[in-house]
Symmetry: C2
Subunit: 313 residues, 2 copies
């Protein structure tokens, strides 16, 4: 099976639109009619990105939310979505559409079009969504961070991964499962952070791997202090807040929080924004000269775990 | 299994963007700063829309071409494409990317982004593509035809369906198979026809079913003279040009020709454009008052076949 990295390398040899940002960013950006249009396209595969037992309305919510999270990371306001849908069993399809309607309303966006197909018999579903947004100001990339920038993250990390573990192991953990099934893209935070940051992306594959990608795209290294990684009360109640729990949280993925690099002089503005939005924003590390990711826990160096996150292999 | 029609009815109850055109058109249209952005999203499913034995480069070509055909029908110039791809076996993936590169170059468009996912083990592939185009003039809908308009089609009809039959039955029919595997979206014809037509769409599911849809969307009926349906020499050599062959051709689908309705006074302009492009354009019938599709063959009424085309059931 081809790895994602190798496949992306092949795609980079094709004719690329300049708005593709070299296929290293979360979204594409096109200037059109005096506006910046931001486009993203994400697929969900049954059994890979969601559990066959997940409620269909939650799958619809997640399909929209993961795409809008990419728009949030680019400071864009959602405009509309195109849906690619494999028809299946009637009850599931009806519940999916109901959940999609809830999500569209919750995020203030609308359906623009798409395609429905007959699914192959017995095959897991593949669901596709393309989200279109508009940005009025700068559109942060992954690659604009500089050595010396602080590295920040919104909200709390690891809840969704812990929710998935609980589901798989049949444990009760409602708040964590809710984070897994109904992620909340940080749309307003993204729009208001965009002018303050050097680089921004969403945490979809895991804080550690996504931070490495941001640093690599920016030609920097990156240090993360695990004791600073923000954990929710629900997560600490379920898993504690020791080093192991923190490493698990930081490599679990599906957080859909914003990860951003900003000059230290921005800390005051970021703190004020955090207070204004009622959304935690936590400095978890810094960009460094050199390359690679370094971890510490209470200032003691920590070896990198074997997996930094989800690698699409 | 939910039918496409029932599913679309459910989607129509969701918050729709005005550019969605009520989900009755081939593409969505959004105005920005006086320009029209045209968006379309089509999926191909292995075993449903292409044969597992089809060469991967041809599958890539088809994935792009069927989306660009929707842009052609809206008179739009392709701008870029987002790809949704399920990773699989390395050799297939490499050949797919090579074919995608050929198709991007052939149609003068570029890759803008997308997503790659791990496919579910053993599952048929689902491939997604979102194409973006721009239109500087009017963007024809399906619904703008009037009773009394002529109904026209570009090129020849039925080749692709006959190519697919030949492949399934192990018969040799190179030219027809080429039409099935490498459809040619009528991009320039679409741009130049857009100002001349009342309604336009592409023929993807079959001439008869697509003509019915255009007529229904326009609040008209439609009559088609089967003897006028343009057949290629290759098709006539393989299947003859009797009524049965014509009915098969007109309900086979995958033609990716343009179907359009125009006032009779436009016939001269359409003829001149056809000559200029070296692309056959044939009047196959007319829009009528009332509703429904009527068929004739050499002016004798013909009963509708049990299937007018591909219905996504």
């Amino acid at each position: 099976v081809t790895g994602e990295r190798a496949f992306l390398e092949m795609l980079r040899a094709l004719p690329l639109h300049e708005g593709a940002r070299g296929l290293v960013d979360d979204a594409a950006v096109i200037e059109f009619g005096g506006r910046s249009l931001v486009l993203t396209h994400d697929l969900l595969v049954e059994g890979v990105h969601y559990l066959p037992s997940d409620p269909p309305g939650d799958v619809a919510w997640k399909l929209l939310a993961v795409n809008l999270s990419d728009l949030a990371a680019k400071g864009a306001r959602p405009l509309a979505a195109l849906l690619g849908y494999g028809l299946g069993e009637g009850e599931w399809d009806r519940a999916f559409v109901a959940g999609l309607g809830e999500a569209l309303a919750a995020f203030g966006t609308e359906l623009l079009g798409g395609d429905t197909v007959r699914s192959a018999a017995g095959a897991p579903r593949t669901l596709a969504l393309t989200a279109l947004g508009t940005a009025d100001g700068p559109v942060p990339s992954r690659s604009g961070a500089s050595a010396g920038d602080d590295l920040w993250v919104t909200g709390t990390i690891g809840d969704s991964g812990a929710g998935l573990s609980a589901l798989r192991e049949g444990r009760h953990a409602e708040a964590l499962v809710e984070r897994y099934r109904r992620p909340a893209p940080r749309l307003e935070a993204g729009r208001r952070l965009a002018p303050l940051v050097g680089a921004m992306m969403d945490v979809s594959d895991g804080l550690l791997i996504d931070a490495s990608r941001l640093a690599e795209a920016s030609g920097c290294g990156c240090g993360i202090e695990l004791a600073q990684v923000p954990l929710s009360r629900a997560l600490v109640a379920a898993e504690g807040d020791g080093l192991d729990a923190r490493l698990r949280a930081a490599s679990a993925g599906d957080d859909y929080e914003l990860l951003f690099a900003a000059e230290p002089s921005r800390a005051g503005d970021i703190g004020a924004l955090s207070a204004d939005l009622g959304l935690k924003m936590t400095r978890v590390g810094a960009l460094t000269s050199g390359e690679g990711l370094g971890l510490s826990h209470e200032r003691e160096a920590v070896a990198l775990p074997s997996s930094l996150g989800w690698e699409h292999r």
